[in-house]
């Protein structure tokens, strides 16, 4: 039995085996664009007072809710279509993600898990575990099911494929959650944008994990509990985001303080997404390099 460290950097540049879109650049762009847009709307409303603090129209809120999907289409999908060998079924995966969210995840959350009834009364770890084992795990498992039955393993040729499909299913899934929020909540544009970013960015982070673990399951050599561990990790990440968010966005009310810090919620969501992106980009790069190195050693 040999030990192959995964996190070692590449010793030399290896040519990409399949000429596909590199994913990370557009994923970062999408996340940053979403973050900046939400921040700009917040600043214009709550800091500069340029935008109205009255609830926005439903169409305006819906526009904000579908923005992540539009950004994905405009950035990731367009870039994908420009490559020599675009990944197939990306839109289908996005749509499937949206369907499982609306058809399964939302009904389960609203009628079975009902997190608003019991999670706020728990402590930090209670919230983390409670959310991770109900809403969080359900979301990640549903996204996994979509990927597993739509594109896995036949369209997984490299680890980045898992990431690309994971991001697509996450965008679809999060868009439905955002649309539900936009439809049911008469919020301002800024609040809608902050909430959409807070929904979407953690889902992107979770799906990166699920996508990577699925890709690795097909490409690499994994343990027997690899996939369950990935799902649990993704669920814990979403649980952690939920628990940390409860701390971040709530302050101490008092004279002159409303006890609400929505900007911290946005920063937290962006931080979770950024950390996950950076970590898994590094892991994938290292793993790909390690695999390429191994391949080059086997070649005559």
């Amino acid at each position: 039995m040999s030990f192959e460290p995964m996190l070692f950097g590449a010793e030399e540049e290896i040519a990409e085996p399949r000429p596909r879109q590199r994913v990370w650049r557009t994923a970062w762009l999408e996340a940053i664009a979403l973050f900046l847009l939400a921040f700009a709307l917040y600043a214009l409303t709550d800091i500069l007072g340029v935008l109205s603090t009255r609830p926005a129209s439903t169409s305006g809120r819906m526009g904000i809710a579908v923005l992540p999907a539009l950004l994905w289409l405009f950035l990731s999908y367009r870039a994908e279509r420009r490559t020599r060998q675009p990944r197939p079924h990306l839109v289908a995966v996005l749509v499937l993600g949206a369907l499982v969210a609306s058809g399964v995840a939302l009904p389960l959350e609203e009628h079975l898990f009902q997190p608003e009834r019991w999670l706020p009364s728990l402590d930090f770890f209670g919230r983390l575990l409670g959310y991770a084992t109900t809403v969080g795990f359900t979301a990640e498992f549903l996204k996994y099911l979509v990927l597993r039955h739509a594109i896995w393993p036949q369209h997984i040729g490299q680890r980045l494929d898992g990431i690309a499909y994971g991001l697509a299913v996450a965008v679809g899934f999060a868009t439905v959650l955002s649309l539900r929020y936009a439809l049911l909540t008469e919020a301002t544009l800024a609040a809608t944008a902050l909430r959409v970013a807070s929904i979407t960015l953690p889902h992107l982070a979770g799906s990166v994990i699920v996508g990577f673990f699925l890709a690795e399951l097909w490409i690499g050599r994994t343990a027997i509990l690899w996939l369950p561990a990935g799902l649990i990790l993704a669920a814990l990440i979403s649980g952690a985001h939920y628990a940390f968010r409860a701390i971040a966005i709530v302050g101490s009310p008092g004279v002159g303080s409303t006890g609400s810090s929505p900007l911290l919620g946005l920063l937290l969501a962006a931080g979770f997404a950024a950390a996950t992106f950076a970590l898994f980009a590094f892991i994938i790069t290292s793993a790909d390099a390690r695999a390429a190195l191994a391949l080059s050693r086997r070649l005559p």
């Binding site: 609830p55 706020p120 909430r195 409860a246 409303t258 609400s260």
Partner: protein, 755 residues
């Protein structure tokens, strides 16, 4: 170089001295304890505590408003202090229901919300206390369930000239929001029975419908009740608005009931005159059954004022010490004294004063309710405020009609005209000195009058007249044979039977001094013995004590009766009875004696809504302002429970709870304020740890009904708050500081973040 070397140390020394002195000064300022900043008037609380009172009656199934006025909530459970004429039914103000409208939004007119009942009322003082008892739909309000904003009574005896006051009330017949009018105290008007502060006069312009509202000092304490005379049919002309078709003829016209709203108020009834009424109502105590007395029938003859004269001094017994016809420049004290007959409490009387034919608002008394009973001697005036020089004309009006007048000149230097003053009555002791000098004497035959005289000259004609029950019994005229100045003792011959006496002294046929006295009771060492054998019991039947007679009663009794015997008290003699609890007067009634001259088992009762609170109950009996009988009984611990009179002092906490994302109010959210001794971490969700809680309304607004007790700058009160609602992240905070200088209300706006 040498100059530089000299200059540098000097400059350094100067700079150092300056710095050190500044530091020392700052430190000294730090060390010196600053007086606590006075808590300023909380206008919002006062406005919310001001209610609009309407007398209504049913006509053809529809409520008809007959009279309106303002009132002030003086307890959280709905006690309202207002003018008696605002709530007592009368010919003008037909009434079967008293409707209370409250200010829900400060910029909007009041909203009829409750029905109230009269707990206590004094037509004479024109003060009444109401209790909110029902919702307008007839549902009973359980005692203690209301949590309304209220104000505390201040000490109106401490009000000074030129103090700033705020008068709060409704300026219209319910069509305008509650209004605050600011002004200053322009003086005080004295009246018999109520003393030198029977009225507080103000420069504020107060509309008539604010009558019954409140006047507040800078600390927000109620120090006066703006009071206008009750409207009268055919009486003082008032603005009367027709607003309803009260007779059901399909038209709202001159034949319909109109609502009197006119006039302006310049007089405030001091709040100390209402303290007893409010305390009794707060304790749930009312006057119980009393000895069946024969009160004279309402006078058939027209009311009248007579024997008008002026005095510059009123003594402690309420007797004019001198009689003046002209007053020198610089006088600050002057009273008009007059006799009255056939008056009825609640009648409207008025004093109009002109100075050199120019009306003087400050010396006049606007139309007000009469409070002196049927007959006696009355005075109006003021002390402590300057009377400018001029020819004064005093005109008295009864129900808008002139009843009497008298003129007086103020000006010039002190005159050395012969005069008598300071008449007192008593008995000679073994050495011939006058003892027991007062105005209530026991039955006997050796009454002497003693008075001062000044600037007398031998041979000057002087005379005296003795009266008994208004009829002359003795008169004599003599040439003066005494010194120019001194004390004269004048024996009075004859048998002095129980009753009311008067002595008038004249110099050259002009009244120079006069005093009344009462003969009652038998002689004893310390004075007349009129009332004796005081006993207390809890039950009586037909004037006979049937319960245990004792001085200590267990807690939980519902009634208390004071029994006593009396002797030699002539019918018609004015007497006063008081009930006190722990030294505070609850009830005080002055009226003519209406029982036989001698008797046993006169009784005075106290009733309670539930049970009489623990305390020391005292009854005091007075004749001619002299306390002639006093006895007390303890109930329970003999002391009122601590905090029985709720304090309105504290900080109001209110605010709005919104959704952080929508900005909309979140209805139903619970806002909890913990008692200062508990922090959020200590809180175990036990109600005993909660100071108070409130639920947000439709707009997300909440208001903590309990005022937050203040701390001090050194030891601030620290409060913790919690906000919780399903679907939102819970919020909490410790350390909300409330000190004696914290402005009220403390506004806390909370934005709830969704889960």
């Amino acid at each position: 170089m040498s100059r530089l070397s000299l200059r540098l140390p000097v400059v350094l020394a100067l700079v150092t001295t300056l710095i050190v002195s500044q530091i020392a000064l700052l430190k000294a300022q730090d060390d010196e304890p600053l007086p606590p900043a006075p808590v300023e008037l909380n206008e919002e609380v006062i406005k919310r505590a001001t209610v609009f009172v309407m007398q209504t009656y049913q006509s053809r199934g529809q409520p008809v408003i007959s009279c309106v006025g303002s009132g002030t909530l003086v307890s959280a459970d709905g006690l309202i202090l207002t003018n008696a004429h605002n709530v007592l039914p009368s010919e003008t103000c037909r009434s079967d229901t008293i409707v209370v409208a409250i200010t829900v939004r400060l910029d909007e007119p009041p909203i009829p919300t409750y029905a109230a009942e009269i707990v206590e009322a004094s037509r004479g003082l024109d003060l009444a206390v109401l209790r909110i008892t029902q919702h307008l739909d007839g549902r009973i309000i359980e005692p203690g369930t209301l949590q309304l904003p209220f104000v505390e009574l201040g000490d109106s005896q401490q009000v000074s000239l030129d103090d700033t006051i705020s008068v709060v009330g409704y300026p219209d017949f319910g069509d305008a929001p509650v209004e605050v009018t600011r002004g200053t105290v322009s003086g005080f008007t004295a009246e018999a029975r109520a003393g030198n502060r029977a009225w507080i006069r103000t420069s504020a312009t107060i509309p008539g419908t604010m009558s019954g509202g409140g006047a507040y000092n800078r600390q927000g304490r109620l120090i006066g009740i703006p009071t206008i005379a009750p409207a009268r049919v055919g009486g003082v002309t008032v603005d009367c608005r027709i607003i309803q078709d009260s007779n059901g003829d399909g038209r709202a016209d001159a034949n319909d009931q109109c609502v009197p709203v006119g006039g302006f108020i310049s007089a405030l009834r001091p709040s100390h005159l209402a303290r007893g009424l409010v305390r009794a109502a707060t304790l749930g105590i009312s006057r119980g059954q009393e000895y069946p007395r024969t009160l004279p029938p309402l006078p058939a003859d027209p009311p009248r004022f007579s024997r008008l004269f002026f005095t510059t001094r009123i003594n402690e017994a309420g007797i004019p010490a001198n009689v003046v016809t002209a007053v020198p420049t610089g006088t600050t004290s002057l009273y008009l004294v007059f006799d009255y007959d056939n008056m009825v409490d609640g009648m409207v009387y008025e004093l109009r004063v002109t100075v050199d034919d120019v009306p003087s608002a400050s010396h006049s008394l606007p139309p007000t309710a009469w409070s002196g009973g049927e007959r006696g001697t009355w005075y109006i005036g003021s002390s402590g405020t300057p009377w400018e020089n001029g020819l004064y004309s005093f005109r008295l009006f009864i129900e808008g009609r002139e009843a009497a007048s008298q003129n007086l000149i103020i000006g010039g230097g002190p005159r050395e005209t012969p005069q008598f003053s300071d008449i007192v009555f008593g008995f000679p002791d073994a050495d011939g000195n006058l003892t027991g000098t007062s105005y209530v004497l026991p039955e006997g035959s050796a009454v002497q009058a003693r008075f001062n005289y000044r600037f007398m000259t031998p041979g000057l004609t002087w005379s005296y007249i003795w009266y008994f029950e208004g009829a002359e019994i003795l008169r004599d005229t003599q040439p003066w044979q005494g010194e120019a100045q001194g004390i004269w003792v004048m024996p009075a011959a004859g048998e002095f039977l129980p009753g009311q006496y008067r002595l008038e002294l004249y110099i050259e046929n002009a009244l120079s001094a006069t005093a009344d006295f009462i003969v009652a009771g038998g002689a004893q060492a310390t004075g007349p013995l009129v009332f004796s054998e005081f006993r207390f019991t809890t039950e009586q039947i037909d004037g006979v004590p049937t319960g245990p007679v004792r001085a200590d009663f267990p807690a939980g009794i519902a009634q208390l009766y004071a029994f006593f015997n009396w002797r030699l008290l002539a019918q018609g003699t004015p007497w006063t009875r008081r009930w006190l609890v722990d030294g505070d007067i609850l009830f005080e009634i002055t009226e003519p004696w209406g029982a036989p001259p001698d008797g046993e088992n006169y009784y005075l009762g106290l009733d309670s809504l539930t049970t009489l609170p623990d305390g020391t109950y005292e009854v005091e009996l007075l004749v001619g302002n002299i306390v002639l009988g006093r006895a007390s009984a303890k109930v329970g611990l003999g002391q009122l429970p601590v905090g029985v009179f709720a304090s309105a002092e504290g900080v109001l906490m209110s605010g709005r709870i919104t959704d952080a994302e929508t900005g909309a109010g979140v209805p139903g959210v619970m806002f909890i304020v913990l008692k200062p001794e508990f922090s959020v971490e200590d809180f175990t969700w036990n109600q005993a740890q909660v100071l108070d809680l409130a639920l947000a309304d439709n707009e997300g607004r909440f208001q903590i009904a309990t005022l937050l007790p203040r701390g001090t700058a050194e030891e601030p009160a620290l409060y913790s708050i919690l906000v919780r609602a399903a679907g939102y992240l819970p919020l909490s905070a410790d350390g909300i500081i409330v000190t004696d200088s914290t402005a009220s209300p403390v506004e806390i706006n909370v934005a709830l973040s969704r889960n």
